[in-house]
């Protein structure tokens, strides 16, 4: 059992589905890109060079949009608005106020980010199509404002932007301009890739897999999404700055919908959420557009105007129908095929698992002395319209104990559980955890104080492997935000968390599947993995929603034994369970809900013999009660 804890490079943790999965990948990719970028101006024809420059400029907003779509799961149909804001700000500062280039550019980028912040503040709370529609509206507003305002030069726009100068060299031709943009694109790619591999990036992709699970581990979805939107606008703004330099005139249509569509197209063709895909998409679309506007009039006589639209439309439809993962999907498939043709090394044999070995317990946090109340539920009431699901429930959970919450179907167990974990807000009453009121707040608030949960219907992060899932449990222990993530300054933190994740897997006998995709595990092991993930958060209170459901007898025993040992180590556990026998044998206290009312609460012995419980829960038929009781005796 010495195999698992040695930390390797951080990139190992990234989802296997990604082609460029490692930091090494980033380096190799950027090195190739730089070499190609140096060579292109020497070899390409003048018209090719012109297209290449625009592709490089448009790659910036495309990368930003790709981050937004891949990480925040939202689409902006107004990426050109931010592009336009960056371009206009830059152009106005340069031509009207003689601001030095670098400062004007910085302000341009910041202006785009500021507008994104203002739009995102109210809108990132909503899911679905709202952000898409609002950004679309923003695009039109920016375009119309620019067109109607004297300050922005109305339809003529802002012109007379001088060519930039770098170290005294004026950037006078496309080749030089290409070299001028490329470093920024490379930098942007590195920052974006780092972000997708970072703590924040992983949290966001976890949110896309299961928002409720990510929040139960302490991820503040809203804040992260908002930051990604702002960042995405920053990329677009930077693109706008270069556009203003290159074209030397900024006019209203650059904020228009057609431009937004082009950016979207680049991302979709490249592959949603892929940084390299966005770059590839930018080049493909630019050359496609160029080719189309020559090809289509040749094929169809008399065709004039923006006929490249036909190409865009056909390509988009085909990509969505046949290759929804874009170029990245195609490349990955090709790579797999090549690998399968090349006889490689045989897979390393599975690590042997020594079931008998006594495994180390994962670390837990015990902020209170055993017996002190860690969770207090008072007067908890939940009404759905006229139906009372919970009626003034009072409960106190002492630290270092296991409380079993049972009751017949529809008794209000799940409602109670969901209120405690923060997924539901109660009609009235409060839940106090470690002296803080947590009811009615989002789950990540409770999670940040040390309360986490598992799910009856498993909520696994299917885009990553088993160790990646457990690693997400460490979210609360990390500090690195988006900025640190982008700069790649969190390797140490990631490495130590990765070690912890492996330790926990080992303690639950899951080491052998650590690098399997989480979704491919059998049900019982997925449930164990979920428990691992919750334990990785080092909670003070662990909420388990029907943890025994779907487990085999042997697995139930392993889990029950683990829970006892964790309890003895100081962890407080609250479980909702159907398996009455397991609860009676495991819990220190049992609470019984019936029709939303707490009808009994006490030690298992007492509760079991409570006539109210027998009547309400086990059924009023005497024979049935006796059978159940005998059954219980057998288990205890």
């Amino acid at each position: 059992m010495t195999d698992s804890t040695a930390p390797t490079f951080v990139g190992n943790l990234t989802p296997r589905k990604r082609f460029w999965a490692t930091n090494r990948g980033t380096l190799i990719g950027c090195a190739i890109l730089i070499v190609v970028a140096i060579i292109i101006p020497f070899t390409a024809s003048a018209s090719m060079m012109n297209v290449a420059v625009f592709a490089m400029i448009f790659a910036l907003p495309a990368i930003g949009l790709s981050l937004l779509m891949g990480l925040a799961g939202q689409v902006s149909l107004g990426q050109a608005a931010f592009f336009g804001i960056g371009a206009y700000t830059h152009a106005i500062l340069l031509t009207k106020y003689d601001v030095p280039g670098p400062i004007a550019a910085t302000i341009g980028v910041l202006a785009a980010m500021l507008v994104a912040l203002l739009v995102g503040l109210p809108l990132m709370r909503l899911r679905g199509h709202y952000l898409a529609l609002a950004t679309l509206g923003l695009g039109f507003i920016v375009m119309i404002t620019a067109r109607e305002w004297d300050f922005t030069g109305r339809t003529t726009g802002i012109y007379g932007i001088a060519r930039p100068e770098v170290f005294g060299i004026p950037i006078t031709n496309n080749g030089l301009f290409f070299w001028f943009v490329t470093p920024f694109v490379v930098l942007g790619i590195i920052l974006a890739l780092n972000l997708t591999h970072s703590r924040a990036g992983r949290a966001l992709s976890a949110v896309n897999d299961s928002e409720v699970a990510a929040e139960s581990l302490g991820v503040s979805t809203y804040a992260l999404r908002l930051k990604v939107l702002v960042l995405s606008a920053g990329f677009a703004g930077l693109g706008g700055v270069f556009y203003a330099y290159q074209v030397a005139i900024v006019s209203p249509q650059i904020a228009g919908f057609q431009v937004s569509v082009e950016f979207l197209l680049m991302v979709v063709i490249g592959g949603l959420g892929s940084v390299w895909g966005a770059l590839a998409g930018a080049f493909l679309i630019e050359f496609l557009g160029e080719g189309m506007s020559e090809l289509i009039p040749a094929l169809i006589p008399g065709a004039t105007g923006e006929v490249q639209l036909l190409g865009y439309g056909i390509v988009l439809v085909l990509v969505i129908l046949l290759l929804p993962g874009g170029l990245v999907q195609a490349t990955t498939a090709l790579w797999r095929w090549v690998k399968s043709k090349v006889p490689g090394k045989a897979a390393v044999g599975m690590t042997e698992v020594d079931d008998a070995a006594v495994v180390a317990l994962p670390r837990i946090s015990a902020p209170l002395a055993p017996g002190e109340p860690i969770l207090q539920v008072s007067g908890l009431t939940m009404r759905y319209g006229g139906v009372v699901a919970l009626d003034a429930v009072n409960l106190t959970v002492p630290a270092g104990t296991i409380l079993g919450l049972i009751g017949p179907n529809g008794a209000g167990k799940t409602t109670c559980f969901n209120i405690i974990s923060g997924t539901l807000a109660p009609t009235s009453g409060t839940v106090t955890f470690l002296g803080r009121t947590i009811s009615g707040r989002k789950p990540h608030v409770a999670a940040s104080h040390g309360l986490t949960r598992t799910f009856q219907n498993l909520q696994i992060f299917s885009s990553t492997d088993v160790v990646g899932n457990v690693y997400m449990g460490r979210y609360r222990q990390g500090r690195a935000g988006i900025l640190r993530g982008m700069l790649g300054l969190q390797a140490h933190e990631q490495r130590s968390n990765r070690g912890v994740a492996h330790d926990i897997l080992q303690s639950m006998n899951l080491t052998d599947v650590a690098h399997e995709e989480a979704g491919s595990l059998p049900f019982g092991r997925q449930r164990m993995m979920e428990v691992c993930r919750a334990l990785a958060a080092e909670p003070a209170l662990l909420l388990l929603d029907e943890p025994m459901a779907g487990l085999s007898g042997a697995e139930r025993d392993v889990l029950a034994e683990l829970l006892r040992r964790l309890r003895d180590a100081g962890l407080t556990i609250l479980l909702v369970e159907h398996d009455v026998a397991q609860v009676m044998s495991l819990a220190d206290h049992v609470a019984v809900l019936d029709d939303g009312v707490l009808i009994a609460h006490g030690e298992p012995e007492v509760v079991r013999n409570d006539p109210a419980v027998i009547a309400a829960y086990l059924g009023t038929d005497v024979d049935e009660v006796e059978t159940e009781l005998t059954d219980l005796e057998g288990h205890v």
Partner: protein, 290 residues
């Protein structure tokens, strides 16, 4: 002064009825499929340009109108069968990208076939009215009439008939819908057919005044969209009221402020509504989808 005001109001209401019909088409699809159909405006342009081309080729107006509406309905069904239905994993994000690509494709096809010029159908028969100095063109009455007949009809179909209600329930309860005898496939085809039909009607009634052009559908569809948002993407009534309001406000802005700002109104309303009141004009929201 007052006459100007009333004149603008009339113009606004007739334009608003166009937005209202488009919103009805959008909601008809959204309630069944949860798809925001960005190509809705292209349906209207297709009918307008196609109808104008047919009449120019010598077809009688009434026949051209029928052919145009029918063809666009068939195009909408084809879009559903050939593209939308074939997308696996149709999330909100993907549905918007898909209908956006349909929109671009239709634009390009119109551009290639009919060229870049705007075309208009001849005016529908009828006398222009002059009431107290306010002139009402007969075509504007046709537009309002189309809203009342077609929009009202579709609203009643969805809200009052058993079949229509089952259709709406399809998105949330496919099994219940099946019991009433509607398969999800059938429901989806029907929803797109309705969207195509409404788009076709909008296209032909508005074409004599507003003219139809290959690139005009997007902006028009987006206005319909704003109206649909005002109806919380679920209530036909609220959306129709919102659309008429939008048309009137646009007319006032164009008349009293600056005609260039006209198109900005809708999107300003859009952002304000999304920011402060996502249920739009719906007074008793059933459940806000978030």
């Amino acid at each position: 002064m007052l006459i100007d005001f009333l004149q603008l109001t009339v113009a606004g209401l007739s334009q608003g009825s166009v937005y209202a019909l488009l919103a009805v088409g959008l909601i008809a699809v959204y309630t069944v499929r949860q798809v925001v159909n960005i190509a809705q405006g292209e349906f209207a342009m297709l009918a307008g340009i196609g109808g104008a081309w047919l009449t120019a080729a010598g077809m009688p107006l009434i026949v051209a109108i029928f052919v145009a509406i029918l063809s666009v309905t068939l195009v909408a069904i084809a879009v559903e069968r050939l593209i939308v239905a074939r997308v696996k994993n149709l999330t909100t994000l993907f549905s918007m990208i898909v209908t956006l690509s349909v929109s671009i494709l239709l634009q390009a096809i119109m551009l290639l076939i009919w060229g870049p010029e705007a075309r208009g159908l001849p005016r529908f028969p009828g006398e222009n009215l002059l009431i107290g100095g306010v002139s009402i063109r007969s075509q504007e009455l046709w537009m309002l009439g189309a809203l009342i007949v077609v929009g009202g009809g579709i609203m009643l179909f969805y809200e009052k008939t058993r079949f229509g209600k089952a259709l709406r329930a399809c998105a949330e309860q496919p099994i219940a819908a099946r019991i009433v005898g509607i398969s999800p496939v059938m429901a989806s085809v029907l929803a797109f057919a309705i969207a195509g039909f409404v788009g076709g009607v909008v296209g032909v009634v508005s074409s004599p005044i507003s003219l139809s052009i290959w690139s005009g559908g997007l902006l028009l569809g987006l206005k319909g969209f704003v109206a649909a948002i005002l109806g919380g993407f679920s209530s036909f009534r609220a959306a129709i009221v919102g659309a008429l309001l939008l048309g009137v406000i646009e007319a006032y802005v164009a008349g009293y402020v600056a005609s260039g700002l006209r198109d900005g109104v809708a999107f300003l309303i859009l952002i304000l509504v999304l920011t402060f009141r996502t249920q739009g004009l719906v007074l008793k929201p059933t459940a806000v989808r978030v």
